[in-house]
Amino acid sequence: MDKDELARAAAEAGLENFLALDAEALGRAYTAALGYRERRAVVGPLEAEPAHVFTPSRDVRS
């Protein structure tokens, strides 16, 4: 990640004030997010999934 990449990401998120305040911390947040994306679990085939209604109180009984 270079400074321009972080600046672009901060601008897209509206976090220019944070970037100016503590670029190092914002960089860590950005890197953490990229890590989550890279490690994202592979989801199953669509046909194996029920209709997508995200009602978590029902999820616990699925």
Partner: protein
């Protein structure tokens, strides 16, 4: 230190009804404990001493008239400071909300008030239930009563510390990735994260809509079950609230575990995130204790712990950023450094990341629920490490992530943390008991049997010795 401060509050309640103890004396004893020790523990952000004493005298008058003012009548409590209290500052432990005074009680606060509980004050939390322990906020972080140089866990840090320190017999915390159970574990008390939807979150400042839970924190299992009786129930104003029948969560406390099937998710702490030996041995010993009590204990396997934790984290930070976006854009300087950084992770995740995490969540819920075809309850670790010093920021961050609590936020399953020993520094160790959705009574049944067979809950910290 007054023994009254550490007494089982359900027994105190009986003494109040019988007239052998007054509410005023009980409240005074707890206030004395707070005044003597909160300077080192930092559990309270706001103390309501005068209001509490006024309410105590009023309750004493009602008891004297033979009235029954409710199941919690005369029992003091305190609330994590993200739970709204009418007319009383609810700061979220943040400069951003330092002057916020809610117009209404949260659903849980209203229930405890209606049941006759006496609010003693509002408790420290990690900022907005995510940023802590922090030393750059308007109030200092809570410390562990067993040794105030050590971390008390979080984010419901003040709730865990205050209950363990005998300042209140019960408190509420909130739990999005383990924030009731972590301080319960590190402070040596009982913390329940009920089933998603069991307890209303109305009036609780959100961290993550799909993962937030409110839960009771007490020193003993029976106290915890009795408090859940008060705060559980359907609330149509919380979209996540489950319309299920109320029940008595204390009904199985004396039934023991003979014949129950207990599944140990051992790979969580023996393979996926290797726990320190003292932690691993503590959970294994708890499993053996349950076996000696007559349970059928077997080892079970599910998906790797990291998959649950990472999925939980993507949902949590995505939803948390949605809550905080405007403030983070306009006034980032008003957050502490930890909350600012942790909340901003969600800014850099995409809609696709969020949707895929929800799809993964469904798969992981199904996977976890499959385990209950073969067992009645599950047990596993809570934290993976001995408690570290609160001023060791690197170690706090490292150990905070090494935990097995988040899977039960993701799946919404009820999970309870309770003490199972002490580490090499004399700080508490803990394990978790988990049950199918809406089977909290079964958890209390197992926890009560374990508690009755052990003496961990009888230990109390020596305040002033750190």
């Amino acid at each position: 230190m007054s023994d009254l401060c550490f007494q089982d509050w359900t027994q105190v309640r009986a003494q109040l009804s019988a007239g052998s103890l007054t509410v005023e004396r009980y409240v005074e004893a707890l206030l004395a404990q707070i005044n003597a020790h909160d300077g080192e523990v930092n559990a309270f952000l706001t103390l309501c001493a005068e209001d509490a004493l006024t309410q105590a005298r009023s309750l004493d008058a009602r008891f004297a008239r033979g009235e029954d003012p409710g199941p919690l009548a005369g029992i003091p409590y305190a609330l994590k400071d993200i739970i709204d209290t009418e007319g009383l500052r609810t700061s979220c432990h943040s400069a951003i909300r330092a002057e916020h005074v809610p117009a209404h009680d949260a659903h849980t606060a209203a229930r405890m008030k209606a049941a006759g509980g006496v609010l003693l004050g509002k408790l420290a939390t990690h900022e907005f239930a995510i940023g802590g322990p922090s030393f750059d906020l308007p109030w200092p972080p809570a410390r562990n009563p067993w040794n105030t140089a050590y971390f008390p866990g979080g984010s419901s840090s003040g709730s865990g510390a205050a209950v363990a320190a005998g300042m209140v017999p019960m408190a509420l915390g909130t739990d999005t990735a383990g924030s009731v159970r972590n301080p319960a574990s590190l402070c040596g008390i009982v913390g329940m994260k009920p089933t998603y939807g069991r307890v209303s979150r109305r009036g609780v400042f959100p961290l993550s809509f799909s993962l937030d839970h409110v839960g009771p924190m007490t020193r003993r299992v029976g106290e915890n079950a009795t408090l859940l009786n008060v705060i559980a129930g359907y609330d149509e104003s919380d979209p996540g609230s489950a319309n299920v029948a109320n029940e008595d969560f204390t009904r199985g406390l004396d039934e023991g575990v003979r014949g129950l099937r207990v599944g140990v998710i051992r790979h969580f702490y023996a393979e996926d995130i290797e726990a320190q030996p003292v932690v691993r041995d503590g959970v294994d010993a708890a499993a053996q204790q349950l076996a000696r009590l007559g349970a059928d204990v077997i080892e079970v396997r599910t998906r790797p712990l990291r998959e649950y934790i990472e999925c939980n984290r993507v949902l949590l930070v995505s939803e948390a950023f949605a809550v905080h976006e405007k403030w983070l854009q306009e006034r980032p300087q008003d957050y502490g450094a930890l909350a600012r950084e942790r909340l901003s992770v969600g800014a850099f995740l995409s809609a696709v990341d969020y949707v895929q995490a929800n799809r993964t969540k469904r798969a992981l819920c199904a996977e976890m629920n499959t385990l209950f075809k073969g067992v009645d309850v599950l047990i596993t670790t809570s934290s993976m490490d001995e408690t570290c010093r609160i001023d060791d920021a690197v170690e706090v961050t490292r150990t905070y992530q090494r935990q097995s609590r988040a899977p039960f936020n993701l799946t919404g399953l009820p999970a309870l943390s309770m003490p199972c020993g002490f580490d090499s520094n004399g700080l508490p160790l803990a394990f978790q008991i988990v049950a199918p959705a809406f089977a909290e009574s079964l958890i209390y049944q197992v926890a009560s049997a374990y508690e009755a067979a052990t003496s961990w809950h009888q230990q109390q910290p020596t305040l002033g010795a750190s």
